[in-house]
Each structure stands twice: as structure tokens, then as C-alpha cells.
Symmetry: D2
């Protein structure tokens, strides 16, 4: 006989949910890796962590274990703070790294500068010190355009260099490039933050352990991305250098990023990172982007404008072709005036999706000729 | 033969997750309704909404439908903005309701004042105008202690009255009390915000449609709580009076509360609200608190200090009894110096849990005598 | 013959200013010490510091010398940062003392809570942890109502106790009371800030060197008030404990409080503090308040509601008497509902002013009888 | 016999100030117009406004009259809000013009971006949307690099275009250029702010009434500069279009920019603007810059790098020449790596100063040859 405490009869008579399916799960596109849903293994992990009571706000067994899982990847000093979303991860991390008077050097194209609604400035009270780049990547020379005036009270003090890996343009830093940037920053008394919203794609593409281009390269704090790589929601601030960040827990709380039922964030991260799900999914989306790039490279009039190194393809093609394609497949203009588009692949993009899309591009370009 | 696009073979060979169960789902306590997990119907809803691509950031089919579901409860003008957590819901709502120079009148015991790490002030740049209350409830008279100086630039302009229903002390406002507060606030040019982290418990306890003590009583904006009532995560800002809140979407984004895969928040809210799951769960947790209160009322030396009107029981009992009980059941001191404790019931609390707890209390009190 | 560089002919033909006198310098009242103008010696100091070029933003000879002048009063470790106004002084000082997650314990009646438009919260991103007091004064016991939860991320971390000397009610802390408060705060890891908008009145009233109730009592940082005591404008953040404040210069700049022509703030402070002008003026305004209090104590029906220890008199008298008096003399209701008024004396209040006012009060009360 | 109330014997026995002269008023340089002191007529105005009591915080007779004086220049709808300093003026003005979610388009070289310590972001919670410019001047085309995404919640909403006149590089917008920019901005729903820290130099150089390039050109709000043009301290937010700014008084207060003894700011502004002092001084400093530019244009090896249109001269010359010159005359490198310097003239720069400086430049360059 079942013990009543082990098998509580929940207060419902039905196993059916009151919610209903309202979408066609067969429809996919190339608009964003955020358009994809969750990986089935991630959903399974949620179920696994469910039931019974666990201490709220991060004192649960899943969050505790996650520390070890992440240390397996980033080294023994890594400390992991699960949060809700990518903007939250960046804003919490950067606040923990700078003083009230600090500034953050980043590429003009950085997500923190272009796509976070001013949250770093408004919530984090940060000053972003931006630099134009050709491909979304900073270099020591580019950093130096803003790395001055450290003692000048009239200027936000440059305290952090923030890079994105893989970048907003789908390009990659090599481990050596990051090492050089970190050395440069550290020599000038600055710390390095890595926005890893797509860090799995970078690790998969580089084919090296993630710590080779983070901890071992000198990165101080990572925003580790999970949502775009198949989680329902969730990211993590991973502090690699304990001296580089202060009071992350407090800043997470006061920046609205503290999940009460944190076990559900942590177990998803564990599902990604305990085995190789994170790499499997990233390798797959990278391969799909590669397949797409290869496919369109054969099509005259479609120009790929950045190296395809992760899961995104940026292309220039005739504006009306793009518009006609958008009627069949979801994707965005990146710079509509320049007729540039972005095609993103995700963990659930299939080879058939790519081939159908390449077919459509070929066909629409042919109509154009 | 299955169409490849309809049934994508995801990039995994296994249906097993890499995460492992690390807790005993038979263990429950009375520490917090946030210690409970998710209701099985909520998890089922997540699976239902999974698969395929849906527009990110709230332009999905689930969020669209949620509007109708919520309007069914709050009336045809309600607009719903899913967010991550309760602090987020409150800070987004209040920012949307006040100007840069505005102030928010609330009880000293309000969650926004005591438990949000200063987020309303720091993220929302709000001034809280607090009032001491006997039981966590504002009255028109108490509001007036801060409702002055509307034209005085030296003072934050009182623009919002924020109440919590059910309150942080487990007490309830009647619909009439809220109606009176709203009339009072509106007459003075102020709007009314209701922090509904436990609004389901209030609706269940009052036995009236939720709109009777919100929309129809004059409340302008509600923070609708889902997490404590069985969601994995998720709350919603529900704007009842469209004139009372500006730019909620923008404020949600820049306040770090915009979920990219919003379908997963919305479908959980739908699971609660499309049928009666939200009320079923709340009625159950309320009943468990009632059973607990009734149980301990028979125990000499245990004093219940606030009316037990929702799912929380606040009691005073000998300090060492409390400490001994905490070794068997998780719960918190509310005011340790005063030897006051808080016992919370949740949707998965069982009658057996209550009876075992009352038994333990009785036994420990007996040892004391 | 005058050297052209020594006596530049400025680009004007006239010694007449284009501005015109628009007020009657014979009219004074009891509304506020901010209604008074500047002491003639202060104006003379401005002229003295004028002419030629001096490095801007605080690197001038007057600001350098001011350091020594202030150290003469507060001890050799004092560092002085001139600012524009009192709110600026408080907000810069408190930001320098707390972390992004810190809170400031203060009396509910503190100027930083009631009269700064929410600036500490909005500009300083501070959480004020307020305590009701009978007379505007904190005690160790009152501090303890907010001094808890130091490790609780859900709560702003109490890091500073802020007191006002003399208080907003015209009352005084004794040196011993401040010593006890500082010891109490320091034991709990908190620092002490003293809002000295009227610190000169306190020093004059106590009859002790100012360091006896600041540096020697354990106060960490003082907001030193100059404007109310006869300056054109200007206050100073005075850091007594160098370990208690960080980056004041940077915070002053980014908080809009850095004067470009700082010599003109510093020389005014020097004018007050190099000799005894600050005490002369404060003793005089205190004496005038004493004379006023003594005068009205003989009038039946006028009740003095706080001890008159500095330059303010708080009284209760019939509402219509107050209204009639306001037609002859400027002053404010403090709490109109309670028929309580505030009468402030300043450095330029004369005995004749007091006697005329007491006469009018006596007369109006007589009409009332 | 003197009436005691008319001629109060102030509480001092001496007309001597306790402060002492610590600088040589014969020494001037080219470092900054902020290094100069105050114009004697401005000091005379302070004395004029002194004495007696005037309502604090802006309700005085001088601030009231200032409204008319400023309207004489900017037109009948102008509303004037005196503040302490330039950063304050900009931050108050911009907050009043944007919503919590707004952004401000400005040149990368704008003072608000480079020299305000991040105050617009930190205090104003503004997002600056910066554009690289060749000469510090925006054009409609340059504005369009940031004027997009008005409906995109992921991006700060462009709401204001901010220009500086004269610019940080000593260049000028023509009235026609400003008219075109305003028309462009207004068509896109944006307002225009003009940072007029050196607006007098612009008016003097253009030789047109100030309203021709402000009110009549479509500018909505001006930060009117006084300090650099001979005031002890003080600037003003001048709202030209009442629909373009909200709650300036409240924002001034909560941004730490409300002077208690405001009569002393207002009377200085009146001293500048009631007659032609502001233009006399500006014409003079412009003429001195012209004389300097003419002088060095004859010196081989010294290159003037921006058109000299106001009171600043930007030049490139051999680095060691610059360093040797700095031992005789104060001035700053603008970009030391590029060996570029900035020479500023002020209202008290004399022809002899210029001629001596040109002589020294000539001599040092000769040593170099």
C-alpha cells in the first residue's frame, strides 16, 4: 500500500491539463533560436525535479549539484548563479564586476548595447563605452580606443571589457584571441566578461573544452546561455575568478533575477551540461548553418557577409527576394536598408528544413533573373 | 509514413535526461509555498506548448490566447503581460503606473518594502511611502498618513496605493474594503496596484469572482501570482484600467522580465486559469491552513496571532518548542525575538501532513509543560 | 604704472551691473534659514577668490587650503569634498558609504526620507530603512528595529546609520548619545553618517568642539552644511574615517555635484571655518530661537512641542491665530492638521525681529481669548 | 536715525573676511573657460540680491523676474529653471524630455557622452545612442544612423536629438542647419535638445539673435550655460516648447539641482542677460580665439584642425613643443597620442595674453626646427 506521504493525491481528478495545444509543432523557421521550444530531455528534467518540497531561492539540491557539474567544465573555482534570461545574466554579471562609477568597453554591435532596451544603463547604472568593429569582435587595439582616462573623474572608469562568443554576427573568437584580449585588459586593471548566450555553439565550433577559451584564457565572468540551446528558460552567471565579482546573490535578487523555485532552472542546466546535450544540440545547429551556407553559396546573387562559424548565416540578397521568402519561412532583415538578412539555426532545425529553404532561395532567385 | 517535418528526429538517441533526481518527493514542510514544486497539470501544459517554432518575446499563440482567458476573469479591458517572478511583476507594474517623480504608498509590511532587496527603489527608481499597520492592511485613514504634499516638489508625489491580497500576514481585504480604498485613492488622483502573489488564495477564501475585488472594486493594475500556486515559474502584470499604466512591454523588457520563449509562461498561466486549477489548488491550501489552525487551537500555549484567512498561519509558541519542531518540519521564524513563526500551506500539502504536524506540536508542547 | 597682466581691463565699460535690486532687504521672517541671504564676510570671500585663472574642478588653491582648515576642526584624517547643496551632500556621502545592495537606517523624519524628493533612492539607488521616533533622534534600540537580516539577500543590507544633528525638530544629540550610537552601529558592521545641514547650530549649542560629537564620537562621514549658515550656496562631504567612504570624487561628479569653479565654494567654507564666523552666526541664530521660545512661553495657549536646543522653535497654537500671524510674518505650518508651526531663526534675525514677533503673537492670542 | 529693521547690525564686528587670497589674479592660461573667475558685474549682482529674506527654492523675486529677461531672448513661451551646473542642466533637461524607456541621439563627442561620468545614464537612466561625426556636428543623415526601431521594445526608443552649440570642437551649427535637424527630428516624433554650455559664444559668433537658432529653428529645450561665461556658478534649463518637457521642477529637485537660495543663481543670469554682458564677454573670448588662430597660422608646423568659430582653438603641433609650452601656459592635450591640443579663451583673456602665447609658440617651434 502506498504511503500517503510518498504518493500524495494531488488536488485534481484529472491528468488532463486545462491548457490546449494552439500551434503546429511541425512549423519551424530561421528567425531565431529563441523561436524553438525546449529539448525533450530538458522537459524530462523538469519532471524529474518536481514533487515534494525543496528550499526556495537556490538552497535546493539541484542548484547545489549544479555547482559541481559546471566546475567540471569551467574548473574548480567556478561559481554558478542561475538566472532567468540573458539580459538578466549580463546585467547581474556586469554590476557585480564594476563599481558605481565604472564603465564597460564593448563592441557597438554587442547585445548589451543594441538589444537590451537600455537595461544595462537603467538597471545596472552602467556606462557602456562602445567601439565600432568590422565583425562584432574586439581586439586589443579596438579596446584601447576606450581604455583611457582611468583616473579621470569626468569619465566612467573603464573596468570591464565585455565580449560576445559566438558574436552577434555569428563569428568566433579563437582561444588565442581571447587570451590576448584578457591579458591586455588585465594589464590595464580591467576584468573580462564573456556574454555566452551562444557559448555552446562556440565550444562546439571550436572543438575545444569550453574552459580553453574562458577560464584558461583569462575570462573572469561568463553569462552562460541556456535558453537558445533548448531550455524552457534559464541562463547562469558563472564566476570564474572569485575576485572579479562581488555579491552576485544580492545583485541577482535586486535585479529581479532570483527564481523562487530555482531547482527548475538548475535541473535544466544540469540536463544540458551533465552529459553532452549542450554540445550535441550546438553541433547540430552549427552543422545546419553550415549546410545552409554551403547550399546558398551555389546560388548566384546571394552573398554571405560574415564568416559562418556558429549557428547563424548573414546574407545579402535582393530585397524583393527576401520579402517573398519571408512568406514561406520566418526570418528577419538584419539591416533592411542594406538588404541584409539573418538566418538562425537551432537544435531542432532538420536537414529537410535546410534543403527546403535552399530550394526556395534558389527558386526565388531564379524568378528574379 | 511520417513526414520528416512533422516528426523531426531530434538530435538525441535517448529519452533519458542527463539530469538525475536528487531529492525525496515525499518530503514536504511548512516553510513556504515556494518550496512546493509544480502541479502536474502545469508540467503537462509545458509539454503541450513544446515543439516547433513560435515567435519569441510574446508574439506567440499561447500568449495571444491567454489574453482571452484572463479577460474571462478580469473583464474585457484586461491586458496581460507575463513575467518571470513576483518582484519583477511588482516592479514592472509600479514603474508603468508612476512618473519618474512618483511615490507608492504601501504598508510597512508590504513585500515590496521588506523582501525585494530594494528592487523597487533601485530598479524602479520608486519612492515607497510606508505606513505602519496592525495586520498588513491599509485603510483610507492609514493611506492619508502619506497622501499629502501632492504639489510639493520636495516630496515624492503620491501616485499609487499598493495593497497585497492576501496580505503578507495571511489576512484578507473584503471586496468592500478594497472598493473603499480605491475610491479614496482615485479621489486624490492616485491609482491602485494590487500585489496578488497569492490572489488565488484570496479569491478562493472570499468565494467571489476575482473581478469583484479587483476590476469591479476599482483596482487599476494587478500583479497576478502563479509561482506560489503551482507554476514552475511565472507571474503576470494584468492591467485592468488601460489609462493607469504606460509602456508595460518596454518596461518589462528593460526591467529584465521579458521571457524569450514566452509561450512557456503563458501556457502555464492558461493551465491555471482556463479551468479551475488555480481555485482548486488555492482552496486546498487554504483548507489545509484552516485545518492546521483548528488543530493547534486546541493546544494550550500556542497562540494564533492573525486571523487565518488564506493559506498561512502565524503563531506564537515557546521558542524552544519551535526550534525542536524545526528539526522535524521546515518552517521559519517570522519574528524570532517575539517567538513568532509562520506556517505556510501549499497546493500539495496533505491532510496527513497537517495531522502529523499538529501531532508533533501537541507532543512538543506537552514536553514543555 | 599698472602691468597689463596684473590689472586686466575687463571687457566692460561700466561698474554697474545689469541686474537690479528687486527686494526689500529689511524684510525678514521665520520661514526658513534658507530664506536668509549670505553673510557679508562670505560675499567678501567670493571677491577675494576672484580674478585670474585657477584650475577647475577642485584642483585650485582654495580647495587645497580648505583641507587644512577643516582638519583643524575635525582632525587630521578629515578629507573635504565641497558640493552644491544639502541633498547633494547627503546623496554623495551615502553612495560612497554603501554598496549597491546596501540600506541606510534613519529616522522617519530624516530630511533624506521626507524632503529630498526621493533623490537618495532614485539617484543613489539606496534603500532607506526608516524608524519612527518621538523627537527625530535615533537610539540604539530604535536602530535595532531595522538592524537585522545582514545576510539575507531578500533585504537591503543595513550598512549605514544616518542621523541629523541638529535634528529636523530642532533637537540635539549629546556627544555621549552619538558615541553610543556609533559604537552600536560599528559593532554590527555599520557605519555612521551625520547629516549636518545645521551642524554649526549643534556645535554652538553644545558648546564643545565639533569633533567631540563627530570624529571623536565615531562618526564616519559628515554632510557639513554651509548654505543655511550664511553661504551663498555650498556644503561639503567631510570624510572622517577614510575607510568608510569610497570614490567620493567620482560619485560627486556623476551625481551632478562637481562645481567647475570650485574655488568659489571652498573660499566660502573657509570664510566660515577659518575663524569663528560659523559659530558666531550659529550662536546668534540659536540665541534668537531661545529668545523667541522664552518670549512665547509667557503666552497662554502657545505650546512649545520640542525642546528648543538649536535655531528652530516648534509650537502648537490656535489655527486661526497662526493664519493671522502669517499675514505679518512668513513661517510654515509643520503639521497643519495638528495646528503645529515651525519658526526658524537665522544668522541675520535681530532681537527686534523676535520682539516684534512675540508682540504680535501675544496680541493675536489676546484677540483670541 | 537708522531703523534697526532696515539696517540690521549683523553679528560681526569686522568687515574683514576670515578667508585669505591664495592665488595670483594676474595669472591666466588657455586650459579652460572654467579656469576663469567671475565677471565683476556678476559679483556685483550677488551683492545686490543679498540681504533680507527671500522665499527659498525659486519663489523669490529674482527668479520671477528672470522669466521675463529670458523671454526677451527666447520668446514668450520660454520657461527658465536655474540649476547649479552644466551636467545638471543636461541631465534635468533630458529626463524631462524622455520617457523611462527613451533614448537620446547625440554625437560620440558630445559632452553628455564623454565628460559627465556617466551621469545621464546613472542619474537620468537614459540610453545615449551615439553617432561618430567628423566635427562634433550631427546632420539629418547622421541622426538616421540611430533613428530607427521606434516600435521595438528591445531598443531604447529614440525620443530626443541632442546637439551642442557651439560644439565640443569649437565649431558652430548655422541656424539653417539646426532648422533642418529639428524638422528632421520632429518628423520622426523626436524632440531637440541643445546643450548650450557655450551658447553665448555661438550667438556672438553667428551675429544673430539667439532665438534665431533655437526657438525659431525648432529647438525644444536649451541647457543655457552661464558658468563658462563669467558666472560664479549657474546654468538654466530653458524650455522653449512647453509640450516638450514634463515636471522640470520635480526632476530638478530629485536630481540634486535645486538651489535653496535660488535668488543668487537667478540674479547672476539676469546680470548676464538683462543687458549685453553675455554677448560682450562671448564676443571678447571669440575674438581672442580668432587672434590666437591668426597668430599661429603664421607659424609653420602648427596645424589648426577644426574651424575656429567660437572661443576654442584645436591644434596639432610637435609633442615636445606642446610639453615645453605647458610649462609656461596652462592648457590641455585633447588627444595626446595624436599630439592635438585645445586652447580655450575666456572673457578675461587679454590681447597681451594672446600675443605672449603666440610669441612663445613661435619661439618654441623655432627651437624645434
Amino acid at each position: 500500500m502506498a504511503d500517503a506521504r510518498t504518493e500524495p493525491t494531488l488536488n485534481q481528478a484529472t491528468t488532463e491539463t486545462d491548457a490546449r495545444r494552439r500551434h503546429d509543432p511541425a512549423v519551424r523557421g530561421f528567425a531565431s533560436d529563441n523561436y524553438a521550444g525546449a529539448h525533450p530531455e530538458v522537459l524530462a528534467a523538469l519532471a524529474l525535479a518536481n514533487g515534494g518540497h525543496q528550499t526556495a531561492y537556490g538552497e535546493d539540491d539541484y542548484t547545489a549539484h549544479l555547482q559541481d557539474v559546471v566546475r567540471g567544465h569551467f574548473g574548480p573555482s567556478a561559481e554558478t548563479f542561475p538566472v532567468f534570461n540573458g539580459t538578466g545574466s549580463n546585467v547581474v554579471a556586469l554590476q557585480a564586476m564594476v563599481d558605481r562609477w565604472g564603465g564597460v568597453i564593448c563592441a557597438e554591435s554587442a547585445h548589451i548595447n543594441t538589444d537590451e532596451g537600455g537595461a544595462p544603463e537603467r538597471v545596472g547604472a552602467l556606462k557602456l563605452l562602445t567601439v565600432a568593429t568590422p565583425d562584432g569582435k574586439l581586439t586589443p587595439e579596438l579596446v584601447d580606443r576606450q581604455a583611457f582616462g582611468f583616473d579621470d573623474e569626468h569619465r566612467a572608469m573603464p573596468q570591464v571589457v565585455s565580449i560576445t562568443q559566438s558574436t552577434e554576427y555569428g563569428t568566433l573568437y579563437t582561444p588565442g584571441e581571447i587570451r590576448a584580449l584578457c591579458a591586455h585588459a588585465h594589464e590595464r586593471g580591467m576584468k573580462v566578461h564573456l556574454d555566452g548566450a551562444r557559448i555552446a555553439n562556440a565550444a562546439a565550433a571550436l572543438g575545444v573544452p569550453v574552459r580553453e577559451f574562458t577560464t584558461d584564457a583569462g575570462v573572469d565572468v561568463v553569462s552562460f546561455g541556456g535558453t537558445k540551446n533548448g531550455m524552457v528558460f534559464g541562463e547562469a552567471v558563472v564566476v570564474l575568478n572569485p575576485d572579479a565579482a562581488r555579491a552576485v546573490k544580492r545583485l541577482r535578487k535586486l535585479s529581479l533575477q532570483l527564481a523562487s523555485k530555482m531547482r527548475f532552472v538548475s535541473v535544466q542546466l544540469e540536463a544540458l551540461l551533465a552529459g553532452d546535450l549542450w554540445l550535441r544540440s550546438a553541433r547540430h545547429s552549427n552543422a545546419m548553418a553550415r549546410r545552409l551556407a554551403d547550399g546558398v553559396s551555389a546560388v548566384d546573387g546571394v552573398e554571405i557577409i560574415y564568416p559562418v562559424q556558429a549557428n547563424g548565416v548573414f546574407a545579402r540578397l535582393p530585397h524583393d527576394v527576401a520579402v517573398r521568402l519571408q512568406k514561406q519561412f520566418r526570418f528577419y532583415f538584419w539591416d533592411e536598408a542594406a538588404s541584409e538578412v539573418r538566418w538562425m539555426c537551432s537544435f531542432d532545425t532538420t536537414e529537410e528544413d535546410i534543403d527546403a529553404f535552399v530550394g526556395a532561395i534558389t527558386e526565388e532567385m531564379a524568378r528574379e533573373a
